[in-house]
């Protein structure tokens, strides 16, 4: 029990903080913070598998998150038949062409391994293929984007349940990770960081600018939900009855009937938003718990020991006959798939897909701060990092505002410095996160909850 004391304390403090937000700000805000904390926790678990278990640095988290989000759109949105009939044929031909190019390149790589001009041949195939695809696809793209551009202008999705898209998001991310891993995993750590970051940028710029795929920067709004809608709840009698029952004491104090009705109405509206968020929390919590069980099992399995051995000494592990390259690729794919899942969860939670919002600051570096702060190699630490850093990220503005007001209380209201500081309060979050990261890295390099490995004393 004592072993887990610090974990329990840390999580209790986190929960108390969120409850305090609920009491002082509102329960709706507290729950949205909690939901985002859970999503961040899934992302950090993905990054932690790569960095903590295997020592692979992946700065491409942004790209996998975006792919997860794209999966939601492609799976859950209803298909647009007009667009399919306008340009579907061209797009499918292009897809087949892409597959063909990949197969030809693969064939050349296998068959003509020793050919001198192999690389030039491949380059020729790719360039010729791209030109061909452009010729085939561009009329299709134009036709698709011309179909009701204000509302659709894209192919739409498959119209399947949105929860299914979480799995697809993971698969998409895994596929990308396979490609990236093949290209970049041989690189030294800091090169890998740069290469993954830049590849993620390429992915995001493709999602942003290929309007026929997911409307690009025009955003997809009004996605399906795995939970009920507020407006339906507000009209269903069982929910109104439930709210009435819960607030019995408060309502009984009011004598006037019309006033009672107004207050009940307001309560129902508030409660419906809380209820929806609670449902989301339930879903996310299930995912986090399942992942936590799986990752914990993996960490203490022979496979986990192998990964740690590879992380701590690659050469020695290689000499013992472990296939370092294969294991690295596997763990890179696994971690990225979890990040993709988190990306899909996030878009589901928001109900909209905004490719323009995928920026490295928010989706790569902040997630990395979470991993480092929480504790690398420890899943409880990673989850705590996700919670703590996200909480700080959201609440930094109000905290900064409070501190500024406190320290400049003696200054005049119209004082130029005070006004300037209050205006720039939102940017203090960068300062807090940065200073937090630097302090943790200096004085607690293993994070808040460090990795614990059970070793028997001989």
């Amino acid at each position: 029990m004592r072993k887990y004391l610090n974990i329990i304390t840390a999580y209790s403090i986190m929960m108390i903080l969120i409850i305090l937000v609920g009491i002082f700000q509102s329960w709706s805000i507290a729950l949205s913070i909690l939901n985002y904390c859970l999503i961040s926790a899934v992302m950090t678990m993905g990054a932690n598998i790569q960095w903590g278990y295997a020592g692979l640095i992946n700065f491409g988290i942004m790209g996998y998150t975006a792919l997860g989000g794209l999966a939601v759109v492609l799976v859950s949105v209803a298909p647009v038949p007009e667009a399919w009939s306008a340009g579907g044929f061209n797009m499918i031909t292009s897809l087949i062409l892409i597959l063909g190019i990949v197969l030809i390149v693969n064939y050349i790589l296998k068959k003509y391994k020793n050919l001198k001009y192999k690389n030039y041949l491949i380059a020729l195939v790719i360039v010729f293929g791209i030109i061909l695809i452009r010729v085939v696809a561009s009329p299709g793209i134009e036709a698709i984007e011309a179909v009701n551009p204000a509302k659709t202008g894209f192919l739409g999705g498959l119209g399947m349940p949105i929860l299914f898209s979480w799995i697809v998001g993971g698969l998409f991310a895994a596929g990308l990770a396979f490609l990236v891993g093949k290209i970049a995993l041989g690189l030294r750590a800091d090169y890998l960081a740069i290469a993954t970051l830049l590849i993620a940028e390429i992915v995001v710029s493709i999602i942003k600018h290929e309007d026929w795929l997911a409307r690009g920067v025009k955003n997809v709004i009004g996605l399906k939900r795995p939970v009920p809608y507020e407006i339906n709840l507000q009209t269903s009698p069982w929910f109104i009855n439930l709210v009435e029952k819960l607030n019995q004491g408060k309502l009984n104090l009011i004598s006037s009937v019309s006033e009672k009705k107004d207050i009940l109405n307001q309560l129902v509206i508030d409660a419906s938003s809380v209820y929806v968020k609670l449902c989301m929390t339930g879903l996310f919590l299930t995912v986090v718990i399942i992942l936590l069980i799986l990752t914990q099992k993996a960490l203490y399995s022979p496979w986990g020991r192998k990964m740690r051995a590879i992380r701590d000494n690659e050469e020695a592990a290689g000499a013992m006959g472990k296939n370092v390259v294969k294991e690295h690729l596997l763990i890179f794919i696994l971690g990225s798939a979890i990040v993709g899942l988190a990306g899909a969860m996030m878009v589901t939670n928001d109900g909209l897909f905004t490719p323009g919002s995928y920026r490295p600051m928010r989706y790569t570096f902040v997630i990395w701060v979470m991993v480092i702060v929480g504790g690398t190699g420890n899943n409880f630490g990673a989850i705590l990092g996700g919670f703590a850093v996200w909480f700080l990220w959201v609440e930094a503005g109000p905290i900064a505002l409070f501190l500024i007001n406190f320290f400049t209380a003696h200054l005049d209201e119209a004082n130029a410095l005070k006004v300037h500081l209050i205006e720039s309060a939102p940017y203090f979050r960068f300062l807090m996160i940065g200073v937090g990261l630097l302090v943790i890295m200096r004085y607690r390099p293993k994070g808040l909850i460090p990795e614990k490995i059970n070793t028997k004393k001989i």
Binding site: A184, A189, L198, I202, I372, L437
Partner: protein
């Protein structure tokens, strides 16, 4: 005549902008490469450090303008660069002393230093946004054009005009001066040689009596020059916006790696490789071909390899290709 028109067209829309942009990238790439070579980590705060130096130049420019000091036809910002460089160097030495030094002395892994530089990135970005805000600012004054399109047309009688902005000329001139001094310093002076020795083999350099503290300090001082000048030149040419500077870190990294990280001359050329590739691949050649080809063969599409939306993606793809086939960079840098 048609051929001349086509050439001028290409010069005006691709080559001149590419040389300017390339010079700005090259300065940043040398900065990255120097830090990587001497201090041995990938500095993720690159973009924000450039932004930090530029911020001082912008603020001082506003101040100088308000008290009526200027350079006539040249932008006032040139006058503020020395002060901005001093501020930048002080900030870099401060950060190095309180943040990076600890890990250097402890001989931490490069990845850890890279993570620390992410922390520095956050803090620097916060300071910049708190001081100057996240807004887009222009601080160019003085004469805007050296050569206007209309003047050029009158002079030569061609259909196509050639525009040369004063910022483009300033960028190229300043880059040439700064880079020549830098290479002279690195190759001919004793301090420069000791820096290169330290970068090649730290232990041997220490054995031969090179003072590591001095080498590190001089590296940061040079970095301060490069970051500030590169940042100010970019800001003069386009505009100053903190977020854009942060994003510029990515093509700068690409340039440094393409040129072979740790190799300043490679980084210098890498900047131009990236800039030319970005602009050549995304330029629409339709007009160019209309001049060259007979009417029957004229293209009706834009003849654009990739849309300009993919400008950044081009440089990153080049990086991926280089990493695949020549991981140590086109111009041989450190081994990966």
């Amino acid at each position: 005549m048609e051929l001349l028109n086509a050439l001028i067209l290409l010069l005006n829309y691709t080559i001149v902008p590419a040389i300017t942009y390339g010079s700005q990238l090259a300065l940043g790439a040398i900065f990255v490469t120097l830090i990587y070579g001497v201090l041995r980590f990938a500095n993720f705060a690159t973009g924000d450090m450039m932004s930090f130096g530029t911020m001082f130049a912008v603020l001082l420019t506003y101040y100088f303008q308000s008290i009526g000091i200027g350079l006539g036809i040249l932008p006032t910002a040139l006058l503020t660069i020395p002060f901005a460089i001093i501020a930048m160097i002080l900030y870099m030495l401060f950060i190095d002393n309180f943040v990076f030094k600890y890990y250097r002395v402890k001989k931490s892994a490069p990845v850890q230093l890279a993570m620390v530089s992410v922390g520095v990135m956050f803090v620097t970005q916060a300071i910049i946004r708190i001081i100057i805000g996240p807004f887009d600012r222009r601080f160019l004054d003085g004469e805007k054009f050296i050569l206007k399109a209309s003047e050029f047309k009158e002079m030569t009688g061609l259909n196509e005009g050639l525009t040369i902005k004063s910022t483009q000329a300033i960028t190229v001139v300043v880059t040439i001066i700064l880079v020549s001094i830098l290479f002279w310093f690195l190759n001919k002076t004793k301090t420069g040689t000791s820096m290169r020795a330290y970068s090649d083999n730290e232990d041997l350099a220490l054995l031969s009596g090179i003072d590591p503290k001095r080498v590190v300090m001089i590296t940061w001082i040079i970095a301060g020059f490069l970051a500030t000048v590169g940042g100010v030149l970019y800001g003069l040419d386009k505009s100053y916006k903190p977020f854009v500077y942060f994003n510029n870190m990515l093509p700068i990294f690409a340039a440094a790696i393409v040129g072979g990280i740790g190799n300043p001359f490679g980084a210098f050329l890498g900047g131009y490789v990236i800039a030319f590739a970005e602009i050549f691949v995304t330029y629409a050649y339709k007009k160019f071909f209309t001049y060259l080809l007979p009417e029957s063969l004229e293209p009706d599409s834009l003849v654009q390899l990739l849309s300009t939306d993919y400008k950044f993606a081009v440089s990153f793809s080049i990086l991926v290709i280089v990493l695949l086939f020549r991981p140590s960079g086109i111009f041989e840098g450190k081994k990966i």
